[in-house]
Structure formats: C-alpha cells, structure tokens
Amino acid sequence: MNTEGNTNRRATPSARWPAIRFTVNGESCVVNVPPMKRLLDVLREDLHLTGTKEGCGEGECGSCSVRMNGELVNSCLVPVLQAEGAEIQTVEGLALERELHPLQEAFLHHGGAQCGICTPGMLMAAAQLLGHTPHPSTAEIREALAGNLCRCTGFIHIFESVVAAAGAQNVEPSKESVLEQTHHAR
C-alpha cells in the first residue's frame, strides 16, 4: 500500500522550484518544492517518510515533532526553505542498525504506546530530553513531553517508559528485540 519505503530519498525534480538540500537520518536529500511547503509535508509526501504524523497543523499536539540541528521542532510549523542545510532526524532514524533504540525498547515493554499515533513525536521529544538530561526527574520528563499530546495513555506509562529507558542507557540493548515484520497475516 505504501509507496516505496525507506530507499528513495530523491523526489522528482521540478524546474519550477529551486533545490533545497538537507540531510534526513544521515542521508542527503534534495527537493524541488515551493519554499513554503511545510517540512512535515516534504517528509511525508516527497521523501515518503510517513512516520512523522499530522495531528493538528497548529503546533499544539507535537505528533509532527522531529529533531532539526539538534533541536526539537514541530515540523508542521517549519517552511522547508528554513531547513536548508539542516540535519534532520525523524522516528525512522531512531532505531539502531538491528535493534530498537532504548526508548523504543522501553516503550514496547512499559506500555508507552497504545494507538501509536503520538508515538513518533513522543519518541523524538523523549530522545531530545535524554540527549541532554540522561537521568531526568519526573518534573523534567513532564515538561519535556508537555508539547506532545497523548489521548490514550494518560501519560503515566509514557513517563515510566522514559524512566526505564534512562535507566537502560548504559546497558547493552536487548538482543531479543530484533525488528519484526508487521504482525498482520496478509
């Protein structure tokens, strides 16, 4: 159903719009799109990275959160021209080579994801937090995630997941969590 997966980073060039270049999850990208196109839409439509979600289009829900040049941003509020030359990380870039990132591992085992729609943004915000505060207090976790709305969990198990991930950071990732195929039998 999805158009091709994580391999195609070059959107079809169009002479009308000048090229805008940046890297996403370590790979160089070039897009020829209107400079006001939202980074969110460029990620989803032009680069086919649909992990980043749109929940509100107003910068309120955080489900579009990505990391840009080391900062957490709401990609629905970034005109792609302002991403020129930037290094962007999306949820697709979080996992390690063959294993889940400690945060993903923790969310999996501690009920951090229910319906999953807020999860990519939540992981980005949590990764941003742990990147500069490796052992956050509950108050720090609450503040770091305040911009990511979750309607399913009531946040409690998300806090637990972040604490678990913080505790696990110095530990080797579990070898059990080899990335699996989707569970639906088709």
Binding site: E58, E60, C115, T182
Partner: protein
C-alpha cells in the same frame, strides 16, 4: 474453562502485538497510504443550523470540468446512514438540520485546487427556526424532528416510588448537568475508497467497526455482500468517535470514487474533524431521593435527559445505558427512572467511551455527596450502608449472582489514599491556605457488553485458523485502536492452544477475511469475543485430539504437526464459534426489567483536588483507582486503559468545553479545545482486585469504559470537600468556580488573608 488455572501468557505483560511497527514509525495509518491515481475529496457543508437549500451554484471562475461533484442525486441506493433509526441522510437533500451537515462532495487530483474550489461553491438557504437546547426541544414550540422532537424515551420502575414520599425521613433533590465532550483522538478521521464495476466498493480507513461501515455501504450503494469490502487501517485513537461517523465518511469517499473513476482519499484536518463529527451527549439529570432516618435509601426518582443533536445516531442506546447506570451500585427498593433523548439542531451527538454512563454516574455520585451533606453523614458511610451485595436485586430487579466486593474495594481505596488522615489534614490547612484541598470519591459500576439481549442479537461469529506456514490467525472483526485488542485476543488464543505468543497473529481487519464478531464497543472485546476465541481454540484442540492424533498434553510442535495432519485430511484447519449467552440472561425490553448486563465491573475512585482561590483553578493532585473487572489479561495494557480513561475523565470534569455559537463549535482548534497535557495529569494509582468471570475470555470482564465513569464526580466531590461549595455542572472551569466561590463578594474587596 481455565479461569483459575495458572497461565503463562494471559496475565503476563507480553509486548504489544503491533508495538514494534508503531515504535518504528512503520505502522500504516490511512493518511500514510496512497493508491495509484488517487484523487482527494472534500465536503461542502451547511453554514446554517436549520433550513431549506434554495440553490447550489458553482462559481464560474473555477474550471469544474476538472472536478467530480457529488450530491444526494448521485446516491445509487438509500440516502441514509442507518445506525438504528433511518433519519440521517448521507448527503443533505433539500434541507439541512445542523451546521456542518454535508451537502456537496468534491474530488480533484490536486489538494490545493480542491481547496480553492471548495470556497467557490455557493449555497443559498431559506433559514428555519433552529433550537439548541434540551429545554427548547422539550417545550415543543418548534418541532425539528419527527412529530415531537423526542428521539427516544424509557421508563424503568421498581417497587412503588409514590408510596414512599409521604413517610420518608429525608427527601433530597438535585439537578446535575454535563456538557458535550470531544474525543480528540490524535489521528483525524479519514478514508480511502475505490470503486469498480467488477469488485464494487473497497474502503480503507480509520474505524472501529468494519461491519458497520460494510452495512452502510451496502445500503447506500445497493450492493450485495460480495461487492463491498472494508479494511481497517491502523487507527490512531477512537474512543467511540469512530464507531458511527466512519460510515458517513466511507460512503462519501466511495461516492466520489464511483463517480470520478479514481481512488479517493478523504482525510479531515483538525478544524473539520472538530466541527463536523460527533461528540458526547450533553445531559441533565434530576434526582429526587428518599431516605430513612438511618440514611438507608428508600426511593429514587430520576429524570434523565440528553441532547441528541439533529439526528438519532446512537442516542437511543446511549440513553439506555445512561438509564441503566443512573441508580448507582446501591440497593434501593423503589425506583423510577424516566429518560428522554431530545432532538435539537446541534451537530449530532454519538458514541463516546462510557456511552451515557459517565453522565448518569456523575449525577448519582454528586447527589450522594449532597445527600450526605444534608443528612450530616459521612459520604463514605452513606455509600457503604447502601451498597448492593450478592443476593440483592438492582434497579431492573436483576439478581446480583456474581461475588460483590464493593466494601473491600472501598476499604482499599480509603487505605491507599489515606483518605481520613488527609481530609483531616486538609481541613486544618484550608483554614489559612489560599489553596483549598479536598478528597472526593465515586462508587460505580459499568455493565460489560451489550445490554440485555444485545449480544444475542449480534450473534457474533469468531474463531481461529492455522495457515500452512504455521501461523495461528485470530479471525474476528474486532479492531485495535490502542486499547489492546490485538494483544489480548492473541494472548487468549495462545494460552488456550498451548503455543507461543509469536505463533499467533490477528488476521487482517478486512471484511473480506474475517467474520462479523460484532463491533468493538461497549467494553465487550476481551469478555465476549475473547470467550468466543477461547472456546474456538479449545474446540480446535478437541478436533485435533479426535481426528489428528494430538495427545492429551502437547507441545507447540505437537500442535502444529497435528494441524498439518488435519489439513491433509480436511483441506483447511479452522475453528469457528458463535456467541453463547451465559445461562439465565432474561431481559424484557418493554419493561426494562431483568438481566441488564451479564457482568459488571465495579470501582471506587478517589480524587485529591486543590482549588487555588487566587485564580479559581482546580487541579487534580493525586488519584486512586480501585476496580474489580474480572481477570486482568494484560497488566500493563489494563493499567494503561484505566489511566487513559481517568485522564479523559479529568478533562471531562475540568478542562474540556465545547463552545457553541449558533449551533457551530467555535473552539474547533486544539489551541482552544483544552485537554490535559503531561504537566496536568496527576499521579494515578491503579489497583485491580480480580474475580474471574466464568463467561468471559479467561475470566475477563469489560474494562475500557469503566475508568471514564468515575473521575468527574470524584473530582467535584473533592472540590465540595475542600471549598464547602457544591458544583453540579461540568465542565467546571475556573470561570465557573469563580462564580460559585467569589462572585458574591465585591471585586473591590480582596479575600482576607
């Protein structure tokens, strides 16, 4: 039946079945999907709440030849989305009855051109007098639905209420109100539809009930079963908001697909989703209660009304559940509940977690605290002295046959919350502190599964099969939308079959693949469908033992080997079962009498709330939730359901207000429809007492809606405890608290400190 046996997988915190995909950002929600040659669709909606459509004009600045335009005239079958009553059109035809009612559909390959064209459709109306409140509807001066505006009514009676008033020591009255509430699932509603003469209609989308959508499409398109197919995509939250509305959206997308000859995607943006889709029914509940000198309930007379909006949708069933949850977990010999759902020109209300119970329970549990105050009794003891016990009959004269442990739950809640010690501490501190703290509680139940004979009527079919490559598939139309369907049902099959958790998968939620096991609503999945899956699994083992040499005890390798032997002889390996009602379920729909629900979950919730008298804002500081909901199939998922439901209940009580202006939601953006953030939720302490229910999947009872029933009354009871002021309507915003706490005090004078 292994509800008491030691289990490996049931009761264990196994990883969420589809969890890895969700965490990797690989899960496919409807807006992540594309079909080749796909167009986009948009809906032109009514800008007035009631009136006749005089004309529809298409501005000539747009080249309409590029567009597909659909109106009611294009509907091949019935122009009706029927849930219960056939009153709601798929597209308005000549008249509109609410703001945002869909009138014209447009499709175009370019989203931006579509947006431009959207603004170029000019509709002229002849407005008619609209009504927006239950009270206006009740007066029947303006009739907007049927002959009398009355969508539905019930009368539930037990004993002889009228004989009591004359002799009661105490009679206490109260009126309680709840407002509309928006589901605010983080994924907006969306569908993709395709049409061809050969295959008919296929839709993919965010939904709870594939067969509801299936039936709606069959009716609107006049197509046979084999020409309609509905597939659920990964769904980002639902809470009842995707129980009814997706049928309308699917029909819209499919109409455009049919007429345009292209697949069509329709995904709402947040502003449209908020303004146009269903919300929780607002309610007004009036209690009149008689008690004896000792605080024992003698009679309850309840008048319960809901606002159904412009069309019935599910108003009758919401009213039913509200009625059956209106009298609380109390023994009362004389009861009369009159309930009515009234039509207005508001956007139609629909299903939302709790489904009438949160509204009814808010009133009952607030009223208990009001009674306690009038009688000068401890609100805890008032409840305890009136609790239902095993052997009692409830308001519908259902004999409570299952073990009842409300006393134990109450004791636990009091202990864990340090209830009395804290109340005493707050009473001292409140004298001098500008922040007033209090504790409040709520005692309640939630009936699991469909009411009365509803499950019999649904006649759910579900089961399992085993694929040639050694995977067990659960075959059910019940869907995952975060609450754990995939995990719980595969856990149950795993346990019953004696295989590994990784051997079992959910078959695709596709009406072309799975049978109709009923909708994913009413907290029925683990209990009702889980039990069917359990039975189907045991049935398969019995077949394998009888026909394929499977031994009395087996390893998973033995199981799969036996399956292959069975397949060689019979061609496929499958086991299906139909719902079997527990014995003794007798329900009289006319008199509203008998076994309303096969099982109930019971709970006591305690809220600690702080009210700041500088800003008049109330915040929940701490929360304890003690419940008995049968066997807990997955401890992390179950706790997650409770916490999520409580957070929504906190929103319902203190934050979430739908601001209506002339029948339209004025605050239809996330910036001003306010749900609690990670900084607003209190610590939530969850405790389960488990009494396995014989007739539920591995002993489970319903759990999903229970947690939304208790928070609002517990919170307002806590506010009463802390401030001494009684509030009887929610949402209770600071502006309302201010009105109750300080308005009578001249603004020029500061509060003494």
């Amino acid at each position: 039946m292994s509800t008491h046996a030691t289990t490996r997988i049931v009761g264990a915190p196994v990883p969420r079945k589809e969890g890895v995909d969700k965490l990797l950002g690989r899960a496919s929600y409807v807006d992540d999907m594309e079909r080749k040659g796909m167009w986009h669709g948009a809906t032109v909606r009514s800008s007035i709440p009631r009136g006749l459509i005089r004309s529809i004009a298409f501005d000539r600045r747009i080249d309409w030849s590029e567009f597909t335009i659909v109106t009611a005239a294009d509907i091949p079958g019935e122009n009706c989305i029927q849930l219960i009553v056939a009153d709601q059109p798929c597209l308005a035809d000549g008249k509109v009855n609410h703001c945002e009612e869909p009138i014209v559909l447009l499709a175009h390959p370019d989203k931006h051109k579509l947006r431009q064209a959207f603004g170029a459709v000019e509709i002229e109306y002849e407005p008619l007098q609209p009504i927006f409140t239950m009270e206006e509807s009740e007066r029947q001066n303006v009739v907007v639905w049927g002959a009398d505006n009355l969508l539905k009514s019930f009368l539930l009676e037990k004993g002889d209420v009228d004989s009591v008033w004359g002799r009661a020591a105490h009679i206490i009255e109260g009126e309680y109100r709840t407002g509309a509430q928006e589901h605010l699932y983080i994924e907006n509603q969306g569908m993709i539809a395709e049409y061809s003469a050969e295959s008919g209609v296929t839709v993919w989308g965010s939904l709870q009930c594939p067969y509801y959508v299936f039936n709606a499409l069959r009716s609107v398109f006049d197509l046979p079963e084999d020409k309609v197919r509905v597939i659920q995509t990964e769904t980002g939250g639902a809470f009842g908001g995707k129980e009814d509305y997706p049928s309308t959206l699917a029909c819209h997308a499919a109409l455009l697909a049919m007429k345009s000859g292209h697949p069509v995607k329709m995904v709402y943006d947040r502003m449209e989703d908020l303004a146009a889709t269903t919300k929780r029914h607002p309610s007004r509940v009036r209690h009149r209660t008689a008690l004896d000198r000792d605080g024992k309930l003698l009679a309850m007379e309840i008048d319960l009304a809901t606002d159904g909006g412009a069309y019935s949708t599910l108003s009758s069933v919401v009213l039913s559940r509200a009625t059956l949850h209106s009298t609380g977990p109390y023994l009362c010999p004389n009861v009369r509940v009159r309930s009515r759902s009234w039509a207005t020109n508001n956007v139609p209300y629909g299903a939302f977690r709790g489904f009438g119970a949160p509204q009814a329970i808010f009133a009952m549990e607030r009223h208990m605290d009001e009674i306690a105050a009038v009688l000068g009794i401890d609100p805890v003891e008032l409840r305890r002295n009136n609790f239902l016990h095993e052997g009692d009959t409830n308001a519908t004269e259902q004999l409570m046959r299952e073990p009842m442990i409300l006393d134990q739950l109450l004791d636990r809640a009091l202990k864990e919350s340090h209830y009395y010690a804290k109340r005493a501490q707050f009473a001292r501190e409140n004298r001098t502190s500008p922040v007033k703290r209090g504790l409040g509680l709520a005692a309640f139940y939630h009936g699991s599964g469909f009411t009365g004979s509803g499950e019999v009527y649904l006649n759910s079919l579900a089961g399992i099969d085993v694929t040639p490559d050694g995977k067990v598939r659960v075959l059910a139309s019940n869907t995952e939308f975060g609450q754990g369907t995939n995990t719980v049902l595969t856990q149950i099959a795993t346990e019953a079959l004696g295989v590994d958790y990784s051997d079992v998968t959910m078959a695709s939620p596709d009406t072309g693949v799975v049978p109709n096991s009923g909708p994913t609503v009413a907290s029925r999945t683990s209990m009702v469908v889980g039990r069917i899956i359990e039975r189907a699994s045991l049935q398969l083992l019995a077949l394998l033992r009888e026909h394929a040499g499977l031994g009395a005890s087996h390893t998973r390798e033995d199981f799969f080997a036996a399956c292959e032997r069975y397949r060689a002889a019979h061609g496929e390996v499958a086991s299906m079962c139909r719902y079997e009602p527990p014995p003794g379920i007798v329900w009289d729909d006319e008199r509203y009498h008998g076994e309303a629900y096969g099982a109930y979950a019971w709970a006591i919730y305690v809220a600690q709330v702080a009210v700041d008298t500088v800003t008049y804002s109330a915040e929940v500081e701490d929360f304890w939730a003690v419940q008995e909901a049968g066997r807990v199939i997955h401890p992390v998922l179950a706790a997650g359901q409770i916490e999520g439901g409580i957070a929504q209940g906190i929103g319902f009580a203190l934050y979430e207000k739908v601001v209506w202006q002339d029948g339209r939601m004025a605050n239809n953006q996330m910036t001003n429809y306010i749900m609690p953030t990670a900084e607003d939720v209190p610590p939530i302490h969850v405790y389960f007492e488990q009494i396995p229910f014989r007739h539920g999947g591995f002993g489970a009872k319903g759990i999903g809606e229970l947690p939304h029933d208790g928070p609002a009354p517990a919170i307002l009871n806590a506010i009463r405890d802390g401030t001494g002021v009684s509030f009887r309507a929610i949402p209770l915003l600071p502006e309302d608290l201010y009105a109750g706490l300080a308005r009578n005090q001249p603004v020029e004078e500061p509060a003494v400190r």
